[in-house]
Amino acid sequence: MAALARRSRRFMSSSSSSSAAAVASSGSWWKDVQPAARDPILGVTEAFLADTHPSKMNVGVGAYRTDEGKPLVLECVRQAERHIAGSNFMEYLPMGGSVVFNDHSMKLAYGEEASVLADKRVAGIQALSGTGACRLFADFQRRFKPESHIFIPVPTWANHHNIWRDAHVPQHTFRYYDPVTKGLDFAGLMEDVKRAPEASVFLLHACAHNPTGVDPSPEQWKEISALFKEKNHFALFDMAYQGFASGDTNRDAQAIRIFLDDGHQVACAQSFAKNMGLYGQRVGCLSVVCDDTQQAVAVKSQLQQIARPMYSNPPLHGALIVSTILGDPDLKALWHTEVKGMADRIITMRELLKKNLVEAGSHLNWQHITDQIGMFCFSGLNPEQVDRLTSQFHIYLTRNGRISMAGINSNNVEYLANAIHEVTREEEAEKAA
């Protein structure tokens, strides 16, 4: 038993009256608790909300906004909610969540006709959106392959590092983004994949890489898949933007389909936060392709054992919405239209931003704005430039220069372009010199 330093006196003695004022105690239980740093992503929104400037812009967190700058609840979601209203069922879901939801989710990811689904060899469990799905996998990896590490692209969504750290899985990175081209460092990626030890576990973004917006082409995915086969690597796909990237759900999942065609047994962490606008409902799915049904059942049972002491069973409401939409042909068709609408608006904003930068007089190369895909644009701005955007122009984004395109609309795109042009004037001057 660990020796325990004697805790000094509590903050109040037992003889004091019940309403006595608190006495600050320097030697209390809490002396080792430091204030946590703000979350780099969610902290941006906190700061934005605190700002009172009329022109302020939030291009930090990745939540979709309409052209009026408002959050959007999809019409298919509203209809689904009306369908399920008045339900008499609010009892616990099983630990693995809604089975019908899991089935719909996996069909969406792997394809309606996927043989792995027909063979019933995919373990799928409802998870707390993409974060929860990744965390389940990380804990599962820790428990069942304790010697394994995780390979994570550079850069990646910041919370990936937190997840595998808290799961106590050692992390390595592999090259991904080329800051010079502002595109994919394909050669670096392949080299790092090759150099990793046999049978390593890799985290791949299925589409609309966060934060760079840089995705491999289908040909590149095929090469990556072939190399993975050679090295016997395992792929966990984080798919948070299916449908949201290109507007086509099958196209956005093609990396996964390529891997499946090559016979890989992959895992997939899915989120419905963005593509169905169900952010706050926390609905997602973790699936793991296995050898056979028996193994899939065993794996599912173990994933449930990880979920149980974390939250017992997942929340119902979001899963019901997703199941209702995907289970109804009309609602599903409506959803496809709406998600394409969101993707199209993002693509339009990319074009507008580039156009406005040129019109503002910038001579830097902004091609990457339209080359990149999905919600985010890796602008190439450095932290100092980002800080100036915030302090001078009240534009909020993460310090890695990631811009959430969803926060841009026809009313503020010019303001943003001008601001970016302002903070990059020196860079431009250097290039011209």
Partner: protein, 477 residues
């Protein structure tokens, strides 16, 4: 209150089969079928025989390490063995398979009406309707959850006028019901009080151990249930808490102890608080039944408030699964009452840092329901009334069961523990063999520790249950 039976086709289709305690016809889904062989292979102990199954040979271990597969077509996970069946879920599954007319499911941990139907509170339906009409957005909540909910939940727990709230000494973070809130607390303990042990009651809710284990927090047990009296082993409890190293953490059930239904008296709570102060222990209250136990929100929170009034720093995990019937929406909170507002701010920030890599931010739906109900005086009163009705039904059923037992049992055995115990659960004092008899002979499903859920009992079945209990108690060793 009669429960409405209407269930939309879309809901039925969307839900598919759900392995809960309820007996509602659902389409059988493929996963259930797949599971059939495995469920039987890891059969509930009450089953007479285990059918042969293709999966019967699976070893049941909850953890396994896996050697690295070298061949490309063999899964990484070939060594993953089947996890053991959940001891509580398994009861409901066995119940469903039973074809007897007289079967009774007392394993269920969810409230049932007198008609033994699930119950969505009227006030919840009202709140959901209001929310549907308001058409609010579905944006991410902050990591710490919905502010209106956090305010409401701390005030419900401690009383709106509590000095600790006014002095901002409570760090509150919305959590995924009781489990999620306990897990945040446990993760915090592991990180900031490394090596400190948590003492849990013997027995306690099964998932407490899992939560502490997965959070990496050491634990040990303090005596609690006395099988001789079918009551509290208070002396044993005090001795074990005194025996623990100074500065340990003591997990206490705020009211309606699960699984025994046995709560300390006010005087006993004072004594427990004395020992905690003496030993510099930190209490960690699990409050899953506030309002549901006695029918009064304030009375059920009195143990927590007593400790807070004495100036003791503590953790409290709350759940709205039972008292608002929001089981599936996973709504609760972790509260930490500390010495100063500065500490509260720091603690809250670190709780957020633990939540972010678990699920980023909590689900909004249940939080909005609670905030709506508590924030509207009419709805709040309606909630109180419904909660009193639920608690009242449990009390009525306890009384009837006690009456039946006392009448039918000609010996002088004291069955009054049925009345003294409180909340959804009751520890009957039946041992495993006797519990098995309850199931095998009488088709009464319960957990093998002798726990019955009064929520699954109605007046009509009390006589039958009394017969079963008396038979099992006297005729089985």
């Amino acid at each position: 209150m009669a429960a409405m039976m209407a269930s939309t086709a879309a809901t039925t289709a969307a839900l598919g089969c759900v392995a809960s305690g309820q007996e509602v016809g659902r389409q059988v889904c493929t996963t259930q079928k797949m599971y059939n062989g495995l469920r039987v292979a890891t059969a509930f102990p009450g089953q007479k025989k285990i059918e042969e199954s293709a999966f019967a040979s699976i070893k049941i271990r909850s953890k396994a390490t896996v050697t690295m597969a070298v061949a490309t077509d063999v899964s990484r996970f070939e060594g993953v063995s089947m996890a053991p069946a959940d001891p509580i879920l398994g009861v409901s599954e066995a119940f469903k398979r039973d074809n007897s007319d007289m079967k009774l499911n007392l394993g269920v941990g969810a409230y049932r009406t007198e008609e033994l139907q699930p119950y969505v509170l009227e006030v919840v339906k009202k709140a959901e309707k209001k929310m549907l009409e308001a058409g609010e957005n579905k944006e991410y909540l902050p990591i710490e959850g919905l502010a209106a909910f956090n305010k409401a939940t701390a005030e419900l727990l401690l009383g709106a006028d509590n000095p600790v709230i006014k002095q901002q000494r409570v760090a509150t973070v919305q959590g995924l019901s009781g489990t999620g809130s306990l897990r945040l607390g446990a993760a915090f303990i592991q990180r900031y009080f490394p090596g400190v042990k948590v003492l849990i009651s013997s027995p306690t809710w099964g998932n407490h151990k899992n939560i502490l284990n997965d959070a990496g927090v050491p634990w040990s047990e303090y005596r609690y249930f006395d099988p001789k009296t079918v009551g509290l082993d208070f002396e044993g409890m005090i001795a074990d808490i005194k025996d623990a190293p100074n500065g340990s953490i003591i997990l206490l059930h705020g009211c309606a102890h699960n699984p025994t239904g046995i709560d300390p008296t006010p005087e006993q709570w004072e004594k427990i608080a004395d020992v905690c102060e003496e030993k510099d222990h930190m209490p960690f209250f699990d409050v899953a039944y506030q309002g549901f136990a006695s029918g009064s929100l304030d009375d059920d929170a009195s143990s927590v408030r007593r400790f807070v009034a004495r100036g003791i720093e503590l953790f409290v995990a709350q759940s709205y699964s039972k008292n608002l019937g929001l089981y599936a929406e996973r709504i609760g909170a972790i509260n930490v009452v500390v010495s100063s507002p500065e500490v509260a701010t720091k603690v809250k920030s670190q709780l957020k840092r633990l939540a972010r890599p678990m699920y980023s931010n909590p689900p909004v739906h249940g939080a909005r329901i609670v905030a709506n109900v508590v924030g509207d005086p009419t709805m709040f009163d309606e909630w109180r009334a419904e909660m009193q009705a639920m608690a009242g039904r449990i009390k009525t059923v306890r009384q009837r069961l006690y009456d039946e037992l006392s009448t039918k049992d000609k010996s002088s055995k004291d069955w009054s523990f049925v009345l003294k115990q409180i909340g959804m659960f009751s520890f009957t004092g039946l041992n495993k063999a006797q519990s098995d008899n309850m199931t095998d002979k009488w088709h009464v499903y319960m957990t093998k520790d002798g726990r019955i859920s009064l929520a699954g009992l109605n007046l009509a079945k009390c006589a039958f249950l009394a017969d079963a209990i008396i038979d099992s108690f006297y005729n089985v060793q």
